[in-house]
């Protein structure tokens, strides 16, 4: 039985904008991020990396590196424990430890440029890097594939010889196709053939990276008792612990992970990269070892999001109702399986009610780094394809694309592309808010000489997840409350956790002091990702706070010598049901706890199956210099159903940040591959993320359709915002120049081509 909640309106703390508790440390430089970690005797670790995209390792000679002054330890694949080829549920997706281990240190083959083949710990970074250059590796270079089309050709070089692909339940060997799944409902062929309007289009997208500014890092010690301590910037200390223990083949109880502050993740810091290597180097050297990743290696060897090939076909009746849809989706997995075709299938049709649907998704290996989640993984890709096709269908049929989206909008009971039925969702409310928005109701204005302007809209969706979270509370004598919760804080979440507790207890946000716990100080908590943190961990905090009220009611009962059932609690005040004038406030009670039974503590935990879906629509105005193809975003608005905004500033921030990542993805970002299968632009110089000069202010409209699955109505908000921007910009470009682009990035060169 899943608990449901009625929406409230009389919040005291929820909906306000307190200064975040960790803010002072962060604006003064005091906050300790992973790369700032220091320990006595600390030495530095680096990886030796493959220069080739695909090669057999013939030999590794580390002798010169080992002999170098200042080098403490060198490890290779011989030092890596033999991890099991076993799938473990990490919460957001499974992990196979054999592949995860292979990603950190290549076994017999290197599968992408930068794939580590050895690691070195030395007295400092400069020495370690020089020592790395002394390691001699002999390779047998193999042909490589870097896109889904080439990877599926009959003569394609095979990445994993032992891969058994699953093609709709049939085993396939000698392949780069890890999986082919299908979801089908209704009579697609029949509906498509009788549709008054049909359209079929193909889209191709290059791989892109999350682009967090903070490099991956890890500091580790492996002690005499075979206990491993790790300090790292991670999106989840517990999932990191599971991965580290699995790769190192030790029990999870041997590993303690302390999450330090984290400088961005967006999904990319869910997998571990350095933690097990730093631990092994520590074991071999007897010293604490720190590793910080170079930016080139971050691009080349961590987890970007899949590049994609997608074919969308839509059918609609003469009255503008969608009747049929098919999607063929090929995603790049990188060097191991797991390309997010499941989430893509969940998202592709989500904003629309369509009776007859089919989705075919292929998970394809290529000689690129193994992909990791990037903010709604799979959804921005399918949104580009679907929302562009919707607009083109409308253009061809002479329909208004906003009205079309309204007429075909999903609602409670609509079936998603993978078969799940929506509960209470906010798609219609979002469309209404978009039409009322200042942006939509303002003219776009005239373009200056030589330029053209266009406006585009697009929907976006992410399902959001629930999973497990834990929280502990304890009361201080001064009436403040200590909160320890398990969600690492990437974007200001700890203040929202504190606000949940404050709302229940009738305290101010600043009277609740939140701490992000390590794996030995708080209960199991899944990743900070999946747009789950405010929803699930907030829920756990709410439970802990309500449990604390019960504990305190016991103490009040002792204080007044009455039954616990006679104690009431409202707005921070305990009272006797029998004698209404008998009251005691939270702070006053806190001061008396020593005489009423001692410390008052509580816990709360959740394991949530479902979460509240997040729908959004964005409006983009572009201005294009038709002589150069340069596209500027001149106005941008993100409208989204956020359930309930606990701290509106940070909800706005999620909408703005996701929008700008989508804008960068749409216009300029890509993995530009050479013909030897390597990334040519692996630096922030040529991997072009938007700067402050590339953008206007990002307007936000927070639509609040409370989620019945959360006590305060919270829906996940973080991921949906990256889904609409790419198609909104594609639709705006079409509006401006009358030509549609079907590939990303939609950069100046491709616009010039389109204008010819």
């Amino acid at each position: 039985m899943v608990a449901t909640f009625e929406p409230k309106t009389d919040y005291k703390v929820v909906g306000t904008r307190p200064i975040r508790h960790d803010g002072y440390d962060k604006v003064t430089g005091r906050a300790i991020y992973g790369g700032d970690m220091k320990l006595p005797g600390l030495i530095w670790g680096v990886c030796v990396r493959s220069p080739h995209a695909h090669a057999k390792i013939k030999s590794i000679d580390t002798s010169a590196a080992e002999a170098m002054d200042g080098v403490f330890a060198v490890i290779t694949r011989d030092d890596m424990p033999k991890a099991e080829s076993k799938l473990v549920d990490l919460g957001e997706g499974n992990i196979n430890f054999k592949w995860a281990s292979n990603k950190l240190m290549a076994d017999t083959k290197v599968l992408y440029k930068g794939h580590p083949v050895a690691a070195i710990a030395a007295v400092d970074r400069y020495t370690a890097e020089e020592a790395a250059r002394l390691v001699v590796v002999e390779y047998d270079v193999l042909p490589s594939v870097t896109n889904v089309v080439d990877a599926l050709k009959d003569d394609a070089p095979i990445l994993l010889d032992d891969l058994v692909g699953d093609d709709l339940g049939e085993d396939v060997t000698n392949t780069n196709m890890a999986a082919h799944v299908r979801h089908e409902f209704g009579d697609v062929e029949g509906a498509m053939s009788s549709a008054a309007h049909t359209i079929e289009r193909e889209y191709n997208m290059q791989m892109v990276h999350q682009g967090y500014i903070e490099p991956h890092n890890a500091t580790a010690t492996w002690d005499e008792e075979d206990r491993i301590k790790v300090w790292t910037s991670t999106q989840g200390a517990f999932p990191a612990r599971t991965q580290i223990a699995g790769i190192l083949q030790v029990d999870v109880s041997r590993v303690k992970v302390t999450p330090l502050e984290i400088g961005g993740g967006f999904g990319g810091k869910i997998p571990v990269y350095f933690e097990p290597l730093a631990a092994l180097l520590s074991k071999k050297s007897g010293r604490p070892v720190k590793m910080v990743m170079e930016r080139t290696a971050i691009f080349e060897t961590t987890g970007p999001t899949p590049g994609a090939r997608m074919i969308i076909k839509l059918g609609a009746d003469a009255d503008g109702k969608l009747t049929a849809a098919t999607a063929d989706i090929w995603f790049e997995a990188g060097a191991n399986p797991g390309a997010f075709i499941g989430p893509a299938a969940m998202c592709v049709y989500a904003p629309y009610e369509i009776a007859n649907t089919r989705i075919d998704g292929w998970d394809v290996l290529v000689n690129k780094p193994k992909v990791a989640p990037y903010r709604a993984p799979g959804s921005p890709q399918v949104a580009f394809a679907m929302e562009s096709t919707i607009d083109e269908l409308c253009e061809n049929a002479g329909w208004d694309s906003m009205k079309f989206r309204v007429d075909n909008a999903s609602k409670e009971g609509t079936r998603r592309g993978d078969g799940v039925l929506f509960s209470k969702i906010g798609m219609e409310e979002v469309l209404e808010a978009a039409q009322q928005s200042a942006h939509w109701t303002s003219p776009i204005g005239d373009a200056p000489e030589g330029k053209k302007r266009g406006r585009g809209i697009a929907n976006g969706y992410w399902f959001n997840i629930g999973l497990k979270s834990s929280a502990n509370l304890s009361v201080n004598a001064d009436g403040t409350v200590q909160l320890t919760e398990g969600s690492t804080d990437i974007g200001g979440s700890r203040v929202a956790m504190a606000m949940h507790v404050a709302e229940v207890l009738g305290l101010t946000a600043h009277d609740v002091r939140p701490t992000v716990g390590d794996t030995e100080s708080v209960g199991y908590t899944d990743v900070t990702g999946g747009s789950r943190t405010t929803y699930a961990t907030g829920y756990a905090c709410w439970i802990a706070a309500n449990n604390l009220v019960e504990v305190l009611k016991d103490r009040v009962a002792v204080l007044w010598d009455i039954n616990k059932d006679d104690v009431d609690f409202n707005d921070g005040v305990f009272s006797s049901k029998a004698e209404a004038e008998k009251t005691i406030g939270f702070k006053e009670l806190a001061g008396k706890l020593d005489d009423l039974g001692g410390p008052a503590n509580s816990t709360g935990s959740v394991d949530l199956e479902s979460a509240g879906d997040g729908f959004g629509m964005h409006i983009a105005d572009v201005e294009i210099d038709i002589a150069t193809g340069k596209t500027d975003i001149i106005r941008y608005t993100a409208i989204q159903d956020v359930g309930t905004a606990i701290h509106p500033s940070y909800v706005e921030g999620q909408l703005q940040g996701g929008s700008v990542q989508g804008i960068g993805w749409a216009l300029n970002e890509e993995y530009f591959m050479t013909d030897t299968g390597t990334m040519a632009n692996s630096s922030f110089l040529d991997y072009r993320m938007p700067t402050s000069l590339d953008l206007p202010l990002i307007e936000t409209v927070l639509v609040e359709v409370p989620n019945p699955l959360h006590p305060y109505g919270v829906r996940g908000v973080g991921e949906t915002p990256i889904c609409p921007p790419i198609p909104a910009i594609a639709n705006a470009i079409q509006d401006a120049i009358g030509t549609r682009l079907y590939n990303t990035p939609m950069n100046a060169g491709s616009i010039l081509e389109a204008l010819k």
Binding site: K26, Y126, Y212, E214, Q656, S683, T691, L693, L695
Partner: protein, 158 residues
């Protein structure tokens, strides 16, 4: 001067108003000098090639990417980092504005932005939005989309 083997350089420099006397390897960046030699980790590493601004500090009043300055080069110069921005009396108005406007999410770019923005407001107390964006284009943020950062700088300006 002989250059037969890399030697350390004797550097006397003032950092956040405090004089430091250091022996710095000739090849060590100012960023590493601050973070590893002195222990001031508020200045962050993001790319090590001058494209993200996370390592921004001020040298003799000018904002620079400290990853592309050698520690040896600040001999006789004045360096200001994020750690010197607040005083015992309180936060700099920019720091206060960043907190109030929620101009940080993960916060890793924040020290760089604050030092860079201070470099602007120290010379131009009332910049336009366009001037703010132009000045800060050398600082990358991936979390905020820059909106609240720009608003915070506007709030802190006169």
């Amino acid at each position: 001067m002989t250059t037969n083997s890399p030697s350390k350089v004797h550097v006397t420099t003032t950092i956040n108003g405090q004089e430091h006397e250091l022996l710095v390897p000739g090849y060590m960046s100012l960023l590493d000098t601050l973070r590893e030699l002195i222990g001031l980790t508020g200045t962050k590493e993001g790319c090590l090639d001058g494209n993200c601004g996370a390592c921004t500090v001020t040298v003799d009043g000018r904002i620079v990417d400290s990853c592309l300055v050698l520690g040896a080069e600040v001999n006789g110069k004045t360096v200001e980092t994020i750690e010197g921005m607040a005083t015992p009396e309180g936060l700099h108005p920019l720091q206060q504005a960043f907190l109030e406007e929620a101009a940080l999410q993960c916060g890793i770019c924040t020290p760089g932005f604050l030092v860079a923005a201070k470099g602007l407001l120290d010379n131009e107390p009332s910049p336009t939005e366009g001037r703010i964006r132009h000045w800060l284009a050398g600082n990358l943020c991936r979390c905020t989309g820059y909106d609240k950062i720009v608003r915070a700088v506007q709030k802190a300006s006169s």
